[in-house]
Amino acid sequence: MTEVIRVSSLTRKFGKQAAVDNASFTIEKDAIHGLLGRNGAGKTTLMQLLTAQDFPTAGSIEVFGANPVENAKVLSQLCFIKESQRYPDEFKVRHVLESAPWFFANWSESFANDLVEEFDLPREKKLKKLSRGQLSAVGVIVGLASRAPITFFDEPYLGLDAVARQLFYDRLLADYAENPRTVILSTHLIDEVSNLLERVIVIDHGRIVLDEQAESIRGRAFSVSGTSGAVDDFASTRKVLYSSRLGGLTTATVESTSADDRKAAAAAGLEISPVSLQQLIIQKTSSSEREFEHSA
């Protein structure tokens, strides 16, 4: 895999608080990445750093092999419209569509027009008069139609209903298949997007807690439930991500890819159920929160 972004020991502090804390990872060319984490985990700050909208406190970022800061050659390859994106007061939807091609070399007018129709956007309306969902649709359209070599979507669907979100996912997939490019999709709606992702990067309290191929994460954990004694017996020799107890019953999420472990659990009379990417991440991030609180 060729990498298009390399991040090394990246830290961004606001006062004493580290929004991004010693993060190191790479972004692969022409893959869809999920940047997952809770609200406030540092997703937006991280993307602002990658797009040189913000400056690191420490560490380095290379985008296409160069520092993106004030680098027009690099920046012109990026598109990043934030969830809270501000537009000039007098801009109408039309103005965004007219000005975007000045800055994005790969801009597709026909694709943008199709999307405007599908999202039912009023071209002559001022952006500040749009509903939250319509404003998100504007961002989604710019992100998709720009066909930038690296496109960042930061929680792109605030205020969009389920139908519109599905429309976004479908158009993203179809256009990505036709015009492969690097996509970084930040979201906390993990279940909705998990099948779209090739790579998964999970950030929690500014730190990267998981960075893997989506397919290798799937099926790497399962959850067992049964009487506390039986579950504890089974879990004692295995890596437990999370467990909860109710009366004499215990449920535990066990990190393991081996089929033998599943057979052993079945043999021990335990109920086995799959763990979704979202559940896995929730459990990963809440366990790291406990670690965080211990060390604090």
């Binding site: 869809i32 997939l173 990505y176 090739e198 290798s216 799937r218 763990v275």
Partner: protein
């Protein structure tokens, strides 16, 4: 899609099912990776991985610039593979559960006959 297993394996299995059921005949063209991706709403790379799994197994073959096709003899090979899997995944667990419940092999055979003649 089932959350507990890699999606590319599930895609491969779905294509296998279509071949076994005869929906995809031998020498027929298989939908493209992008079509599978759009249909199942999954990442094209994942769909590609599933298709490639079947290419590696000789179930599908690639015609340069045209697409993927079902190989000759794919169906019988798949049937053979699935029958082996059937033995491991269904017959053996069935027998071990039957043994636990004191059901003899003859009783089991009787029950199966009764059920299948219903």
């Amino acid at each position: 899609m089932d959350e507990s297993r890699p999606i590319f394996i599930q895609i491969a299995e779905q294509i296998e099912d279509s071949i076994i059921d005869g929906e995809l005949a031998e020498e027929a063209q298989v939908p493209s990776t992008n079509e599978y991706a759009a249909f199942y709403r999954i990442n094209p790379a994942t769909a590609g991985k599933g298709v490639n799994l079947l290419v590696d197994e000789g179930v599908l073959y690639k015609k340069r610039g045209i697409g993927m096709f079902v190989a000759k003899g794919a169906r019988s090979a798949l049937l053979e593979k699935r029958r082996k899997k059937f033995l491991a995944e269904f017959i053996r667990p069935l027998l071990s559960e039957a043994a636990r419940l004191d059901i003899s092999a003859e009783q089991l055979v009787d029950q199966i006959r009764k059920e299948s003649s219903k």
